[in-house]
């Protein structure tokens, strides 16, 4: 890298001086390099501004309007939020449905994908094939997965009830019974665990063998090595998958839309499905914008809470470099 570019970066890091002045002070070659950098990142930045930040900001304004997409928006102050919190039973219901889904789907998916990653981290012949095999479902388009799972949950001829029959359990109407539709969705969610699994696998492969060897020498058994080496070393990845999992499950839409269309009896009326219906089916776009911002804040608060209380438990190796206590972690 050019010396001057390095200098620029250093100055940027220090944060002193005006940006344009710094830019003007560069040599022509460094300036050209900087320009090229801006040009290369501009599609991503423009895309973010035009397609994400722009609509988000417009949605802030729309949240305070009564807008049916077609006529001009009418400012209604806080009316959308008042309706939402005081009158709209479906707002609370869809929020509860989404929360209920998240509270089980995220931990089960995390544990499942982590265990799967550990299994696929072992040294067995044809392991790349196994890894591909377990990762493939997460690449399957949701529509195709839904078709498959509808067959699995078929009350008369599905695979799920076949297994139930084999062990003498009664027939279950998975997708039409309000009591069973959620377990059905939770199980189906594990189908996509491959995405998190591959990240876990990468993390597990990054754990230095030396740590395991040292732990073994110090007398740690398998559980000790898992508890005091594996878990701390991959804790940033667990944390990452937890956050991403929560964000994704709070935004769940497609499966509810395609599998059950929110039924039976609104049992799978997820928050975003309800938002979509308000926006595009019932022409309540202003209200839908308000719903979207409330969801944003709910996810933000939950994420902040997790960062504050669970984030403390995450072990970042570089923070502990040279810390003598870390060396003895597994003995504690």
């Amino acid at each position: 890298m050019e010396k001057e570019t390095l200098k620029l970066l250093q100055r940027l890091r220090r944060g002193n001086g005006g940006g344009w002045r710094r830019f003007a002070a560069l040599s022509p070659r460094a300036r050209r390099e900087a320009m090229l950098g801006y040009i290369f990142v501009s599609p991503a930045v423009l895309g973010l501004v035009i397609w994400t930040i722009g609509p988000m900001l417009i949605a802030v304004w729309l949240a305070f309007t009564d807008w049916d997409i077609i006529s001009a928006p009418k400012a209604v102050g806080l009316a959308n939020f008042r309706t939402m919190f005081q009158e709209d039973e479906f707002f609370w219901h869809s929020l509860w449905v989404t929360f209920k889904y998240t509270i089980v789907a995220v931990p089960t998916s995390l544990v499942f994908s982590f265990l799967l990653a550990m299994l696929l981290n072992s040294k067995v012949r044809a392991m790349p094939w196994f890894r591909t095999f377990f990762y493939l479902p997460s690449l399957t388009p949701t529509v195709a997965s839904v078709a498959l799972w509808r067959w699995i949950y078929n009350p008369e001829y599905g695979l799920a009830n076949y297994f139930f029959r084999q062990v003498g359990l009664p027939k279950v109407n998975w997708l039409l019974d309000t009591g069973w539709v959620f377990p059905a969705f939770w199980i189906m969610n594990l189908w996509t665990a491959g995405g998190a699994m591959i990240i876990f696998l990468a993390g597990l492969q990054g754990v230095p063998q030396a740590l395991y060897d040292a732990a073994s020498i110090d007398g740690a058994n398998a559980w000790g090595r898992f508890r005091y080496v594996t878990i701390p070393m991959v804790s940033p990845i667990i944390f990452y998958n937890l956050i991403i999992g929560i964000i994704n499950t709070f935004q769940v839409f497609t499966v509810g839309y395609l599998m059950t269309d929110g039924g039976p009896d609104h049992a799978t009326l997820f928050y975003v499905l309800y938002l979509y219906r308000n926006a595009f089916k019932w022409l309540n776009m202003g209200y839908a914008a308000a719903l979207s911002w409330v969801l944003f804040f709910i996810v933000l608060v939950i994420t902040a809470f997790i960062f504050k209380y669970i984030g403390q438990m995450v072990h970042y190796a570089e923070e502990h470099e040279g810390d003598p206590e870390v060396k003895d972690t597994w003995r504690r």
Binding site: D68, W151, P155, E156, Y157, F280
Partner: protein, 460 residues
């Protein structure tokens, strides 16, 4: 390429400047042309639909015929994915097509917002079509103000397998409204037609509901929608002010209770998920002799013809003292912002009431929208096709379509109330998840509170 002459920097800049200049000149030129008063403006219409396959080809041929006839150019737009969402965006941008398909759940809302051109005057004075001859259910109106035609006529029809009836030694179902079975009668016949792999029928000792070879009646749950009210001589709304619905009339509750017993007590219909497992639809199941009667609509005919089995047409059973069927045809409207209202109406009338779609009528997929074409035996012969339409079709499908077909209420907020309370309540009652009386009473209270807060738009 090696043979190409390499441009110098100066030549490159000159060429770029020339291109930019000509581009800018073009941009300046465009508004000049558009803003200049046209000497002889040729009407150009945009027609939007969601059709695909052979229907799309027929529509496009019909549009070409329209151009030949009138000199009006028509462009066909087919945004097949998320059609209504895209149409809403074009409406927001004041760019609605001139003539377009519209899901009927949106018509009342769009009419209120002034997006749809009112058709009342044109329809009343159209010399090419007698308004009294149009099937009433196909005219989307609010207080006699018309805002949409139907794309086509889509009546509910029952189809039966002659072979299954012959094998069981049963008489064919009635093909005229006057002779329609009651619900009890069709259940009894369906029980006799239903048999398990040992030849036992429902209600007989040893009948195995898990191994049924032939089902009597695929009742399909959408016969349990509005038909229940209409056939009991009721409407969803208690009055023309469209303010309150009556979902708890004893005859309605009784009918739902009876319908809910079809899957659980009588075992005459395929269970949930039957087709998913088999990997085919109900017409294929009927073609294989696995279902005697199916409740569907006219648009099943092309599939039936393709499957080449011996099929008959019958009327639906009566769920109450009256006979009524649901018309599923979606809307066809004109955008209020069209620059060519007369030409747009002419196109709408040509599509809906002309014979441009006769080739689709002949496949069974669509049906005419004029009562005379549906009910007059002589005119029926101009489109009913041997080998496509079963011989009972004139009385089993055409007459009911002309005289007994009804449609959903045209009321702002109806779709939302249906999605939130009425539809799920009916679903719950039909599948016996909760007692019909209880679930319908709850839905009625919720829907009426919603309607009270959202009064309908009724043009004077």
């Amino acid at each position: 390429m090696g043979s190409h002459k390499r441009l110098s920097r100066r030549e490159f800049l000159q060429a770029s400047a020339a291109m930019m200049a000509s581009g800018a000149a073009g941009l300046v030129h465009v508004p000049t042309t558009l803003s200049a008063p046209p000497a002889q403006e040729t009407p150009q219409l945009v027609f939007a639909s969601w059709e695909g396959g052979i229907t799309r080809e027929t529509i496009e041929q019909m549009l070409r015929d329209f151009t030949d006839l009138t000199g009006v150019e028509v462009t066909h737009q087919v945004p097949t994915e998320s059609y209504m969402e895209k149409l809403q965006v074009t409406a927001a941008a004041d760019q609605l097509p001139d003539v377009f398909y519209i899901s009927k759940g949106f018509i009342a809302d769009w009419a209120e917002k002034g997006l749809l051109m009112e058709l009342t005057e044109q329809l009343g004075s159209d010399p090419s079509v007698d308004m009294a001859d149009i099937v009433e259910a196909n005219l989307y109106q609010i207080n006699n103000h018309f805002f949409a035609a139907a794309v086509t006529t889509e009546p509910q029809v029952m189809f039966y397998s002659r072979d299954v009836f012959d094998d069981a030694g049963e008489a064919y179902p009635p093909a005229s409204v006057e002779e329609a079975w009651t619900l009890d009668e069709i259940i009894e016949v369906a029980k006799r037609l239903t048999r398990d792999q040992n030849g036992n029928h429902p209600g007989e000792e040893g009948f195995d509901p898990d191994n049924v070879e032939v089902f009597g009646w695929e009742w399909w749950n959408w016969i349990g929608g509005a038909n229940v009210w209409w056939m009991n001589g009721l409407e969803f709304f208690t009055g023309p002010d469209l303010m309150t619905v009556n979902l708890t009339e004893p005859s309605v509750v009784e009918t739902y209770t009876k319908l809910s017993e079809i899957p659980t007590a009588h075992h005459i219909a395929p269970p949930a998920g039957y087709y998913d497992q088999m990997g085919f639809g109900m017409t294929q199941a009927q073609a294989r002799g696995q279902i005697a009667m199916i409740t569907g609509a006219n648009w099943l005919l092309p599939e039936i013809v393709e499957l080449e089995y011996s099929v008959g047409a019958a009327v639906l059973p009566k769920l109450g003292p009256e006979y009524a069927i649901w018309g599923a045809g979606e809307g066809l409207s004109i955008g209020s912002t069209t620059d060519f209202p007369d030409e747009a109406y002419r196109l709408l009338s040509y599509v809906a009431y002309g014979d441009g779609t006769a080739s689709i009528w002949k496949t069974g997929l669509w049906m005419p929208q004029l009562k005379s074409l549906l009910a007059d035996p002589e005119k029926q012969q101009t489109w009913l096709t041997e080998g496509v339409h079963p011989e009972e079709y004139p009385t089993a499908a055409c007459i009911p379509a002309a005289h007994y077909m009804k449609n959903d209420p045209m009321r702002k907020g109806w779709q939302e109330a249906w999605d939130k309370w009425i539809g799920p309540a009916i679903d719950s009652a039909l599948f016996a998840r909760r007692p019909a009386e209880e679930v319908l009473a709850e839905a009625e209270a919720e829907a009426n509170a919603f309607f009270a807060e959202n009064p309908p738009w009724i043009p004077a």
